[in-house]
């Protein structure tokens, strides 16, 4: 059961990776990277249950946080031109 779910995650991960590599605009890639992060969060949780020690879900929480922060940082750089306060 867990293995089937993991295989589904793998298939959709491959499809999303195709979109990341082929994507035309930057927004496509950012969207696909965000979806890949979500898939990886699910994969970590499922792998914990599959291997019999589901105590390591903290890593999945950190992943969700890092994924959100990375996406927002890329989008901010894309909209304002810098991450910090100095702008030429």
């Amino acid at each position: 059961m867990y293995l089937a779910a993991l295989i589904a995650c793998g298939i959709s991960g491959i499809l999303i990776l195709v979109r990341i590599i082929l994507g035309k605009t930057t927004f496509d890639r950012i969207l696909a990277i965000n979806s890949l992060g979500t898939i990886i969060v699910l994969g970590i949780a499922l792998h914990g249950f599959y291997s019999g020690r589901p105590e390591f879900l903290d890593i999945a929480i950190v992943y969700a946080l890092i994924n959100f922060i990375g996406t927002i940082a890329v989008l901010k750089l894309f909209s304002t031109g810098s991450l910090g306060d100095i702008q030429k």
Partner: protein, 106 residues
């Protein structure tokens, strides 16, 4: 009792797997950014919700359930924010949707 739990988890996992695969196919197949956001939203809502529900049914009342609920709540709040910011920026950068010509609506 275990059998009932397993069956419920299997049904949830099936629905979740279908929604993430359909979402990933949509990310490839749909024509432009504004329609691909729907597919990404399908992964973020349908996939995570059903997978996490299935795992909650398996784990019962424990600390693991709390962590799973935390993941669910976090993705539930951050996914719409990301989609909104992406769509907003794509509109600011003058990307126009494929298909019908948009008139004075936007």
């Amino acid at each position: 009792m275990e059998l009932v739990k397993d069956i419920i988890t299997g049904v949830f996992f099936f629905i979740g797997s279908m929604s993430i695969i359909i979402g990933a196919c949509g990310l490839i197949k749909l024509p432009d950014v504004f329609s691909r956001i729907h597919a990404a939203g399908m992964i973020d809502t349908g996939g995570t919700a059903f997978f996490l529900l299935g795992m909650i049914v398996q784990s019962g009342w424990s600390l693991i359930t709390v962590k799973l609920v935390l993941i669910g709540v976090f993705i539930f709040f951050t996914s719409p924010v990301t989609s909104h910011v992406t769509a907003n920026l794509a509109r600011e950068k003058k990307l126009t949707p494929v298909g019908k010509k948009i008139g004075k609506v936007l």
